[in-house]
């Protein structure tokens, strides 16, 4: 028998079933997801401000990069971009495994995502060391300042995402049921996809433009 639905005075839905009394239904968009979305909106505006500043310096300068400074490593960064995109695929697999209750698969996919994220950070770090040795430092004019600010902020976000992911992974391994990490994993995945999508915008802007 279909359950009847009533609206409470506050607007949330009450479902009345034939077998039991009324019970409050879950909100249409969970509070956690909504909070995450608002947080990501703030993050987007933060990066938009950085990109706007970068655009001003980039578009007003005819010769970019300046002649005495090294060019950014394209081939390695292309590969690194592939690594980060692959991490989005493994994160998607993790979510599916969690939904299907496959605990081992969940742990495997989360580990793979964390490893790929760490590889991305390690390659970025090694490239930065190389660039600094070639003279591209934070104080080497607007080129260095905007590059390290923009890409550095993204790197910090990836680092935060990896730490968050490791916490979720530890929690997933501690609990017997994959369902126990549903909300933390969902939020972590949203953040991870955000960081990957951000790179999809930053990479062409900084490295290819």
């Amino acid at each position: 028998m279909p359950a009847a639905r009533r609206l409470t005075r506050t607007g949330s839905t009450l479902r009345v079933t034939a077998t039991g009394g009324p019970r409050a239904a879950a909100p249409r968009v969970s509070n956690a997801r909504l909070a995450m979305a608002i947080f990501l909106a703030f993050e987007s505006m933060f990066f938009a401000a950085l990109v706007a500043a970068y655009l001003v310096f980039r578009l007003r300068t005819a010769i970019w990069p300046p002649v005495d400074l090294p060019e950014l490593p394209l081939a390695v960064t292309w590969l690194n971009t592939g690594v980060l995109f692959a991490s989005a695929v493994t994160m998607r697999r993790a979510r599916r495994a969690q939904r299907d209750g496959l605990r081992d698969e969940l742990a495997r996919a989360l580990t793979a995502t964390a490893v790929l994220g760490t590889v991305f950070l390690a390659v970025q770090g090694s490239e930065w060391v190389r660039l600094v040795r070639h003279g591209l430092t934070l104080s080497a004019g607007m080129y260095g300042a905007t590059f390290y600010t923009l890409i550095g902020c993204h790197g910090l976000h990836v680092l935060a995402a990896v730490v968050w992911l490791l916490v979720v992974l530890a929690r997933a391994q501690r609990h017997r049921f994959a369902g126990a990490v549903r909300v933390p994993l969902e939020l972590c995945a949203i953040y991870w996809f955000f960081v990957v999508a951000l790179w999809a915008g930053l990479f062409p802007l900084v490295y290819l433009l």
Partner: protein
């Protein structure tokens, strides 16, 4: 009594409006005006592009948020309807 309340509110609004400053010409940031008041050189164009980008971003972000919330709510409704039919 109601007329008295409306009259009081009207008086307060009128008092507040009377202290508003007179109309003034729109003014921009002094630094921007100094740097960008001139022909369309690369700096001016760069600022224009950057301003347009920053202007569009809040709409994009809020729009994306709105679409995402609408789709999530619709999906939740469909799931609830499906659950109701199976109960």
């Amino acid at each position: 009594m109601r007329a008295l309340v409306v009259m009081c509110v009207g008086l307060v609004v009128a008092a507040l409006l009377s202290v508003l400053p007179a109309d003034a010409l729109a003014q921009g940031c002094a630094m921007c005006k100094t740097a960008l008041d001139g022909p369309m050189d690369p700096t001016t164009e760069a600022f224009n592009v950057s301003s347009l980008f920053l202007m569009a971003t809040p709409y994009t972000v809020v729009g994306t948020l709105g679409v995402w919330m609408y789709l999530s709510a619709r999906r939740a409704d469909r799931t609830a309807d499906h659950d109701d039919e199976t109960e």
